[in-house]
């Protein structure tokens, strides 16, 4: 996997998507058939079948073939075996088979859905983190949520997403978390301790939430839209939630959804908040992709709807900078609530597990909060940015208005460039796979960066995990597919279809290379079907 500098992103943006699409189509036109034939030949080689058998044995050896326990086996099969253990033998053979081929020469494993942004984060965060060294050394074990200024920064972030001049969230209800993952786990733990009950996850998603619920011995389930096959996204419409079991205490929703970028409109959000109020349940809102909407509203639609319906006390927000600015490895997340009972409980949990979070984050959160507040006012020029900063900053903030303005503009430039890059990559993926008939690219709503979740062009009943596994063995390409995001594999195989996630926050060359390999493999499966070996992969107990 290659990583990208901002300069690369800008260069790609200047090129636009069309040249990449044309290049890929030309490549497929010239060499596609040859690659297809080579893949056919490869399938006849004993090493190919050996690789498939090794993959199955490895899954078994790692306990990833369990059919009885509810687990996230599909996710880990993909991460640890398909994209892990099996790789060396696969690549040796694929290199041999495809030697001399312009696409596959020197083939390395490629992940079409890395799930993380490979665009280098804005440099200013490095500077802000380094600036945080000083306060970090003046430790404060009595600050389980973070320092006062840090929590004010989080409050600024969340209030900015509620609306201009909103003050609904106070610093007391804000907590630094290690990424959104910790926020989700803590929120579930708090729910258990405040009012134990069922957790309902809306739409497909990352395994961490259900796994946390499982470990906390909370009953849980995942709901998928009943209209998912029609292209309206995988999130269930709130009107479909009238039959929630009476023990439901919390719904968890990531908006926009990962992996298919579906979102709720205003009416749906109002229904969701009303439902929470009527049924006395809480909403855990995972806003990790919130800042990546293409039509980026200055506020967060769910929080806005909740505020308008006096329902903010029902919402616990978790988010992070892992996706918005690609700082996944730094674990910079937050949890915010306007409900004091929740704030007390979360505080207690944090006292138990860490005393205080990293204290290096104060300048970063101070800046982030102010930047989002300033952004809400859509300043027209530098003078307005500086003026707004002076109005909004806290008395002890030492950053000059000139410095703030410079950082703010750099951040906005990074965000605009990366957003454009993601959009163009989405266009490339859509145009290429649509033109090649590889997948139905319109089934994924794609309202936000940086994932899309198309349905591969294979008949219903095709084994999803088998498709994923054989794609790797044949082409060195892997990604996350439907069952990796929960719900039984059978549901995906028989009803929702083989869905593969494409994360396009990666290098363009990698993306195009992956798309080409995916197209060729799909052609092979369309004409010859999957090997019988991989059809033994079944993950019907996904959490």
């Amino acid at each position: 996997m290659n990583y990208l500098e901002l300069g690369d992103v800008i260069r790609y943006n200047q090129q636009g998507p069309q040249s990449a699409i044309n290049g890929a189509l030309k490549e497929l036109d010239l060499n596609g058939l040859r690659n297809e034939n080579r893949t056919f030949q490869a399938r006849e080689m004993p090493t190919y079948q050996n690789d498939l058998n090794t993959l199955l044995a490895s899954a078994q050896g790692r306990g990833l073939d369990s059919q009885t326990n509810r687990s996230s086996g599909a996710y880990f099969l993909n991460e640890n075996v398909i994209g892990g253990e099996i790789v060396p033998s696969v690549l040796g053979r694929t290199n041999q088979v495809f030697m001399g081929n312009s696409i596959f020469t020197g083939v390395d494993k490629l992940k079409l859905g890395p799930g993380i942004g490979l665009v280098r984060p804005p440099e200013l965060y490095g500077e802000l983190l380094a600036m945080g060294m000083k306060p970090a050394l003046e430790v404060n074990y009595a600050a389980p949520g973070g320092t006062t200024r840090t929590r004010q920064g989080i409050a600024d972030i969340v209030n900015a997403s509620i609306g201009q001049e909103a003050k609904n969230i106070s610093p007391d209800g804000c907590f630094v978390t290690a990424g959104a993952t910790e926020g989700i786990q803590v929120a579930l733990q708090a729910q258990k301790e405040i009012d134990k009950g069922r957790i309902v996850f809306l739409g497909p998603g990352y395994y961490a939430g259900p796994l946390a619920a499982q470990r906390l011995e909370l009953p849980y389930e995942r709901r998928i839209s009943s209209c998912a096959r029609k292209g309206s996204g995988l999130l269930p419409d709130p009107t479909e939630l009238g039959d929630l079991p009476p023990d439901t205490k919390m719904v968890v929703v990531s908006l926009p959804n990962n992996p298919d970028g579906s979102d709720y409109d205003e009416n749906q959000l109002q229904s969701l908040v009303r439902l929470a109020q009527e049924k006395n349940i809480n909403i855990l809102f995972d806003g990790i992709f919130d800042d990546l909407r293409y039509e980026n509203p200055s506020t967060t639609p769910l929080l806005r709807a909740a505020e308008q319906q006096n329902g903010l006390d029902r919402i616990v927000t978790v988010s992070s900078l892992s996706k918005a600015t690609n700082l996944a490895g730094d674990r910079i997340g937050w949890l915010a609530t306007s409900n004091p009972i929740w704030a007390d409980k979360v505080n207690e949990i944090f006292v138990d597990r860490r005393c205080n979070p990293r204290l290096t984050l104060e300048p970063l959160f101070a800046f982030e909060g102010l930047a989002r507040q300033v952004s809400n006012s859509s300043p027209a020029n530098e003078s307005e940015i500086r003026k707004l900063y002076k109005q909004l900053k806290q008395p002890n903030d030492t950053m000059t208005d000139v410095k703030f303005c410079s950082m703010y503009l750099k951040l906005m430039q990074w965000k605009a460039a990366s957003s454009q890059y993601y959009r163009d990559n989405l266009t490339i993926a859509k145009d290429l796979w649509t033109a090649e008939g590889t997948a139905d690219m319109n089934i994924s709503p794609d309202l936000a960066g940086f994932n899309t979740f198309p349905r591969m062009n294979v008949p219903l009943g095709t084994n999803t995990m088998g498709y994923l596994a054989e794609q790797m063995v044949a082409t060195g390409l892997y990604t996350q597919a439907g069952p990796c995001f929960g719900v039984s594999q059978q549901k995906w195989d028989d009803d929702l279809g083989v869905r593969e996630r494409i994360s396009f926050a990666s290098d363009r060359e990698d993306l195009v290379n992956g798309l080409i390999r995916g197209s060729i493999f799909n052609r092979v499966v369309q004409s010859k079907g999957l090997s019988t070996t991989v059809q033994r992969l079944n993950y019907d107990q996904q959490i």
């Binding site: 380094a130 290690a178 490895g329 597990r353 860490r354 979070p357 290096t360």
Partner: protein, 489 residues
């Protein structure tokens, strides 16, 4: 003159105190109760109105204001500024970090069977490590009992309560000579270990007293625990602040290896005290028990994916190299061979000016431990005749001393009134467990205060003098301005 309060002010303060929810519940931990008072903004405002500094005067803070060694700090700053790509790590934490720690622990403990990264889990500070271990035990043995060797850090008891585990706190204090006491309690630990005990918690060197359980004593504890099927958690957070060598005198992993109890022993450590990096929350746990490592990694997985990012990798590698090289020097190995050794062990990831950096690092560390030790002597001199006896402290930067004439005093009221009169915040015996009543009613215990001698010299002197003055005043008056008679567990 110390601040005294009028009847009207006293009534107001009492109203504020009684309105604090934690103080309305007798089951509140003493540490929490006092902390709630210190954190109360209304009370703080009352002090500030009387020109009393309500924030800076801490005698028992438990943290150091001394600088982090510049070499380590520089490596973190460089990593942050270079903002290397920030991708997800394995749930156990950065492999580079875990390798570095595995090497450090292996060499310092002189292990025959070296640790590797698979024996280490990175955590959110040592607190995260302790809390994870409790979570693991609670999941496996919800009816189990935890044995806590006291007096110790409040977190052990807090975790037991939080995970609804039964717990027993054991302690003992014995007079070593007319001026020195020991808080080690081997017999109490040994006699309390039975089949119901699933976790034994020992801090070694101890906090707040800064003493060591010897190798032989640990051996006895581990062996008994193994027979009973209990895990022994050994918190070694202060080992590298040893006054005499800057290296821990006793290693639990080494004792465990020799006594064939490695499967029952897990150590907890971090960089908050040793390197004054508390703000970064870098902790870890290490054990040869692979099953425990798996369970604890899974706890990390849901708590945070993984605990800290790779920006600390270089710092941990450097720290490990410094400590291994010192260990090797102590063994008489020539520098050239040491350099070759660490180059091999760290895949040639050794700075060009290694010896300069290492020498500077150790100079800083020596100055640091010397400061902690000399500040303790100075504090004791200032308190002078007030001290009846004190712990045999061998490591920085906490100690426990007993004050004369205050044995029957209500410690909560003392803390509150000392704070109201002087702004000085103190942590007394019950902050470290056992319950307020035990300290006040049992003549063997009495009025002990933790001295944290890692603070700013000027402020610490001021705090000590005010504290001393307050005691003299109390001993004259034999009453407090604000009397609550509250008692906490």
């Amino acid at each position: 003159m110390l601040k005294t309060y009028t009847n009207e002010e006293v009534r107001r303060i009492k109203r504020i105190l009684l309105s604090i929810p934690a103080l309305q519940n007798k089951q509140t931990n003493y540490w929490t109760a006092v902390d709630e008072v210190y954190a109360n903004e209304e009370i703080s405002q009352i002090l500030e109105t009387s020109n009393i500094d309500s924030h800076s005067l801490k005698l028992s803070a438990g943290t150091s204001v001394l600088n982090t060694p510049t070499q380590l700090l520089a490596s973190i700053v460089t990593a942050l500024q270079n903002h290397t790509y920030r991708f997800y790590m394995p749930s156990a934490g950065s492999p580079v970090a875990r390798d570095a720690i595995a090497l450090r622990e292996s060499y310092i403990a002189g292990l025959r069977s070296k640790l590797d990264q698979n024996d280490i889990v990175m955590t959110t500070g040592s607190t995260g490590a302790i809390s994870s271990i409790f979570e693991m035990v609670a999941a496996e043995y919800p009816q189990g009992t935890v044995l806590i060797a006291g007096p110790t850090y409040y977190l052990y008891r807090f975790c037991a309560q939080y995970y609804k585990l039964k717990y027993i706190e054991v302690s003992n204090v014995t007079q070593v000579d007319p001026k020195r006491s020991s808080w080690l309690c081997l017999n109490e630990i040994i006699t309390s270990i039975n089949d119901g005990i699933k976790l034994v918690c020992i801090v070694n060197p101890t906090n707040p007293t800064g003493e060591y359980y010897s190798k032989e004593q640990l051996n006895e504890i581990f062996t008994k625990a193994k027979l009973a099927g209990a895990i022994v958690l050994v918190d070694e957070l202060f080992g590298f602040l040893d006054y005499s060598s800057g290296m821990p005198q006793v290693s639990a992993l080494s004792v465990a290896e020799k006594s064939r109890t490695s499967n029952n022993v897990i150590i907890v450590n971090g960089f908050s005290k040793t390197n004054n990096l508390a703000g970064f929350r870098i902790g870890y746990l290490a054990t040869k028990n692979i099953s425990m490592i798996r369970k604890l990694t899974r706890i990390n997985q849901v708590r945070s994916c993984f605990p800290v990012g790779d920006f600390i990798d270089n710092m941990l590698v450097l720290d490990s190299q410094f400590r291994i090289s010192k260990y090797a020097q102590k063994k008489g190995i020539p520098r050239l061979r040491i350099l070759k050794l660490i180059n091999n062990q760290f895949n040639n990831r050794v700075p060009r000016d290694f010896w300069k950096q290492s020498d500077d690092f150790w100079k800083t560390m020596e100055n640091t431990t010397e400061y902690y030790e000399s500040e303790l002597l100075r504090a004791k001199e200032i308190l002078g005749e007030l001290i009846e006896t004190s712990a045999e402290t061998k490591v920085g930067f906490n100690s426990l001393v007993k004050i004369k004439g205050l044995d029957s005093v209500n410690m909560f009221d003392f803390s509150v009134n000392c704070y109201l009169a002087t702004g000085v915040k103190v942590e007394l015996g019950p902050s470290y467990g056992l319950g307020q009543k035990v300290w006040e009613a049992n003549s063997k215990y009495g009025f002990w205060i933790r001295l944290t001698t890692a603070r700013d010299k000027r402020l610490y002197t001021k705090a000590l003098l005010l504290f001393k003055k307050f005691i003299h005043l109390y001993l004259q008056k034999k009453r407090f301005d604000v009397t609550t008679n509250l008692n906490f567990i």
